[in-house]
Symmetry: C2
Subunit: 406 residues, 2 copies
Amino acid sequence: VRAVSPAAFATQCDRQSSYDVVLGKPLDDPIGLLAEAIAGRPALIVTTPTVDRQYGQALRDWIAASGVNATVEVVRLGEANKTMETVLQVATAAKRRRLGRRDPLIAFGGGICCDVVTLAATLVRRGSPYICMPTTLLAQIDAGIGLKGGVNFDGCKNFLGCFAPPSNVFIDMDWLRTLPSVEVRSGTAEIIKMALILDAELFEVVTGGWQRLLRTRYTDAEGVGRRVVARSIELMLEELQDNWYEDRSLQRLADFGHTFSARLEELSGYRLRHGLAVAVDMALSTVIASILGMLTHDECEHILAGLELVGLPTFVPWCTAGEMFPAARASARNRGGDLNLVLPTGIGRATFLHHLEDLPLTLLEQAVDRLQRRASERPCAPPRTVVAEPAPLDGITTPASVRSAA
Amino acid sequence: VRAVSPAAFATQCDRQSSYDVVLGKPLDDPIGLLAEAIAGRPALIVTTPTVDRQYGQALRDWIAASGVNATVEVVRLGEANKTMETVLQVATAAKRRRLGRRDPLIAFGGGICCDVVTLAATLVRRGSPYICMPTTLLAQIDAGIGLKGGVNFDGCKNFLGCFAPPSNVFIDMDWLRTLPSVEVRSGTAEIIKMALILDAELFEVVTGGWQRLLRTRYTDAEGVGRRVVARSIELMLEELQDNWYEDRSLQRLADFGHTFSARLEELSGYRLRHGLAVAVDMALSTVIASILGMLTHDECEHILAGLELVGLPTFVPWCTAGEMFPAARASARNRGGDLNLVLPTGIGRATFLHHLEDLPLTLLEQAVDRLQRRASERPCAPPRTVVAEPAPLDGITTPASVRSAA
């Protein structure tokens, strides 16, 4: 043995990845990009009962026409069963179909489907390739285009998860045509999030053209919806570009609306849709910024009015100072101990409230109080928007008690 | 909205990581490298009942002396409970101890402990830092120093797992002093693996100095054991250097002994220790190479005799051609469809048998037959080496039926 006896061995283990997010028509062309991405390998396509009802036939027609060796697995997916058990169910399907190390899993569904398949693919054989085909507005501009997979665990949203780049993302905006309106609003919340921190014009286009965007599910003939979606994707990818793995910094502008929202979802028993919880969180953060003098009264009103205009809630009964105070602490544990609350300083720009001490309970009480009073003074704000409608969660019925509580 | 309407958005998401593997005395110095790595954060140290019995007091003394905010979680760990349930048990402990996003999990145990904690840390909050303190020979030169985490699933070894670099690896070779001899042999199998593919001299040093290495648990006063361990670590890190994530290639020399071994472990109900299964796999691969004329008869004998000299099995009853033939197919699924069986072409060099067609059933039958005959002709080969002794698996008793079968 050579006389090697050092005390420390240095190891470098960099990893290179890249992928494209493509707006196109993956199921319209049997020899197109999707078939090319699968490249003759066996593939497992995971979808949900809702998506299967709407697009299962088109999917199976495409499989038959393209001749790819793909099988379809329909899995019940909602926040309430966004769990490790469901991930293991997908892993079992991959094993049963004898998928190998380089054979892709494909998510064909909303954000939860993308999150679960991302995690399952990452675990199977220590990392199998996966393709996302997000079908909801929220997934097309947020959950389905990034690196994050995750499941809820022990009462904590996304406590277990991963960062793993997809090999491809294929988006067909025509899949939005069958979305229930609450899903359109939920996705719009994330678009408004990107607009408020980065692009004032985007905020005006979405709120100004809302009726048409809602009616056409972002697929208007003039292409406004498509430009909004394309711009949102571009902003999201740009914003995350230098910190995909959240290892450079835990101060992320894209966390706007994501400090209190997870707790709101948990408190609602995951009946409050993600985008709607984000809207309430953005409203709360906006009022906090206003109280702190970072935002003028008019700007604050303009933001809240914009949220309300597109049918998003600015308050829900679960939003109490007593609950939001520990929620901020739980978020800080996810951010290395710092609060890093994103606060708008105008339309299209934002800053951070760094430390937990900067958010005393009295400030939270004042902000919650203002939003609660505002909600009670506007009886026209549709309470229906708070909980999911008309299809709450696949396989889960919203109890009447919650509907009336909202 | 700016006129952004491209069809595809290109995304680059590289990740940089590095870490050191340190041979030292982490628990001897309360203000040393380990305390520095924990850096005042809360930490969760996961260990096993066996390690806790031997080194739990030293660990607790170190915690008290260093003043770090660390808690110890003792978890039963063996191949049979190397499962996602155990990973979730560690995740629950991390959540209960309120570990945040930058707070480390620490594995203090053998290869299974390192594998499970690696996966748990990777999942918790989408990736928490983790530190490995491997206590067995196998973990110190293999399982505890790389990127792989994993658990068994649905009858398939390591079907679920991850690649995730540790933030630190701290090794104290004095922890080897209390190892049962079967554990010393199991780790020696992985050292011999590296030697046979890359370093003929290492093979001679280990087999030539075996009695002393075994008696001193690689901690002889002359430092032979330390040089062997250091050289093995160096070879392993060098070999994996350009392909840490197995994304460049699925042809890996370090897979020598790892084509049939997983199935042998599964067939034994995980009572056959990993290193011992690797030894049988290496023996089988060596005989295959000999039959194919890649290796002289003398070189083949030299390798088999070396394995036997250090008390490693070259045959076990589970090693039948009928089982090893599909095992090769299962391994190929993990290697993108190719067999990539590593075959020695001499002492210290190796090549690949690339395709499944290159390994017909008749060839396997011939090789297994030769090893079986050899084993029956050498009644002195201690059958005790086959199953675990004296401490089989934490919390698991080896049934008498298996002991006698072996």
